[in-house]
């Protein structure tokens, strides 16, 4: 039996048929920058966001707890008194203390999420952006304006999908814009 197997190359043919099957079956490659993009789960710890409450007020009260707890000390917070804007109807913060400067040095940040835990007002949350590479070191420091900008993926969106995406390359840089309507599980 063994000899017959050897003479007719049974194992060899089995192997060949297996690889042939793979050869004609669908590939599982994710075409990341061109057509598809992976949207992480909600628990993913990407670029931070600074949140506002439902009335549009900044939740951050500049208590500096996040800066204290940060293991790499990458967060700089300078508080100031919130005197409000000219339009009294749109207050800037939820109390009369607000961050004048809120900067996260992304070169040092290790995305541990301690700031999220320490925050008493749920102002800082870990977001889902993971495309943080850039051409200069300036953009590695996320300032308050950048952190307050709402993201492409809303926080309620359930992650773990591959979605269609568009690869945009212009003067501002390189960006992969996801299209949330068409989603599919990766496997």
């Amino acid at each position: 039996m063994n000899l017959l197997k050897k003479i007719f190359f049974i194992d060899f043919i089995k192997g060949l048929s297996l690889t042939f099957k793979y050869n004609v079956s669908r590939t599982i490659t994710m075409r990341y920058p061109d057509e598809e993009k992976w949207l992480p789960y909600q628990r993913f710890r990407g670029l931070h966001t600074l949140n506002r409450d439902s009335q549009g007020r900044e939740l951050c009260v500049a208590c500096e707890l996040c800066a204290k707890v940060c293991p790499t000390q990458c967060i700089t917070v300078i508080p100031m008194e919130d005197v409000g804007t000219d339009l009294k109807s749109v207050p800037r913060g939820i109390s009369d203390r607000i961050a004048k400067v809120y900067e996260i040095n992304l070169v040092r940040c290790l995305f541990c999420g301690f700031c999220e835990d320490a925050c008493p007002t749920t102002a800082i949350r870990m977001g889902r952006d993971y495309e943080l590479a850039c051409f200069t070191l300036d953009c590695a420091i996320a300032d308050k304006k950048k952190l307050l900008t709402p993201r492409d993926i809303p926080a309620e969106f359930e992650g773990g999908f591959v979605v269609k995406a568009k690869f945009i390359r212009n003067d501002e840089g390189i960006k992969v814009k996801p299209d949330l309507s068409k989603k599919k599980r990766w496997w």
Binding site: L16, T19, Y22, N23, T27, T29
Partner: protein, 347 residues
């Protein structure tokens, strides 16, 4: 002063040589793309995809990259041999095609002349092909030796021992075909494979020489340094073997040689065992008139090239002692047995 007919004859030969060598020079480009695509799909990947639609322009990009790379000569290398050996490897790979017939005769419209689709029909064709094909190993050996690097040297030594061991089995496996065809000329070998057995099976040598074909295939794999016998360029243990010190165009020459060797082996197996440009007998007459014989030839060669690539991403590499055992203890006795059986059947 020679007459016009002789001049046309000479011009035809020159044109043939130019066309064949142009095709051979450009053939590795699609083949590298194909190999990477097949590799990708067998591993459920896509392969090259970004340069051009489905990555078809990738080989061009690679070629441009290789052309502009710095050409490094290692310290204390044997400079002349180091520069010479890629060419030594490449020339025989081209020279082999002087005797290979690609198809039947074709009538050229303007000068109204029958031309045969081979450059020369030598009466020792198959010997010539095997002899010249064996010379390629010098490029590998000398390149390995001249690099002044231990990995390259080991690759060269392995290549030489492997070549000597498998050349015998390769030649002996061809002997059976030669005995059936009663000729060493490749054109005659193809001509004897016309027709059909019992009206169904094509009258190809594979049905007379199955053992010979298997031996030929295995020995040819070893001879062209393809997986599972690519010990000379074993990435796992020798970095890249004999061409570890090469860069730029010289490296490209080695790659060219390797792909051409694969094509040569496919072409040879088609000619020797699969009836060359003869079509299978059950093909309807109209279709047969529609498709020129050369397309049958190209199709069969393409199947073989696919098979070699398929094989590469299926099998693991043999150990060196296993390689020697297979060569000397299995293939050589089997090929002798094959000759014996063929002789007995022919009597």
């Amino acid at each position: 002063m020679p007459d016009v007919n002789t001049l046309i004859e000479v011009a035809l030969i020159i044109v043939k040589v130019v066309i064949v060598s142009m095709i051979l020079f450009s053939l590795p480009l699609p083949l590298t793309w194909l190999e990477r695509k097949i590799a990708g799909h067998i591993q459920l990947r896509l392969g090259p995809f970004r340069v051009g639609p489905h990555g078809v322009l990738q080989p061009l990009a690679d070629m441009i990259k290789l052309m502009f790379k710095e050409d490094i000569t290692p310290y204390k290398a044997d400079k002349w041999l180091f520069r010479l050996s890629p060419i030594v490897a490449m020339v025989p790979a081209f020279a082999v095609y002087a005797t290979i017939p690609f198809g039947n005769t074709v009538t050229v419209p303007f000068i109204n002349k029958e031309i045969s689709l081979h450059i020369a029909d030598m009466n020792v064709g198959i010997l010539y092909v095997l002899a010249i094909g064996g010379i390629t190993v010098y490029g590998i050996m000398l390149g390995g030796w001249a690099s002044n690097s231990k990995y390259a040297l080991l690759g060269g030594i392995r290549a030489s021992a492997q070549m000597v061991s498998y050349e015998i089995a390769l030649t002996f496996s061809c002997v059976g075909v030669v005995m059936i065809a009663n000729s060493l000329s490749l054109v005659d070998i193809v001509h004897t494979q016309k027709g059909a057995i019992l009206g169904i099976l094509p009258n190809w040598n594979i049905f007379y020489q199955p053992l010979g074909f298997i031996i030929f295939l295995i020995a040819a794999l070893a001879e062209t340094n393809r997986i599972p016998f690519d010990l000379p360029e074993d990435e796992g243990t020798l970095a890249a073997g004999y061409h570890v010190e090469y860069s730029g165009m010289r490296f490209a020459f080695f790659m060219l040689t390797e792909y051409l060797a694969m094509v040569t082996v496919s072409v040879l197996s088609v000619i020797l065992f699969f009836g060359g440009w003869n079509s299978p007998p059950l093909v309807p007459e109209t279709l047969n008139n529609l498709i020129p014989p050369i397309f049958w030839f190209i199709g069969k060669v393409a199947v073989f090239i696919y098979f070699f690539m398929w094989l590469r991403f299926t099998l693991p590499r043999y150990r060196y002692d296993q390689l020697m055992t297979i060569g000397w203890k299995i293939l050589l006795p089997l090929s002798l047995l094959n000759i014996l059986i063929t002789g007995l059947l022919l009597i």
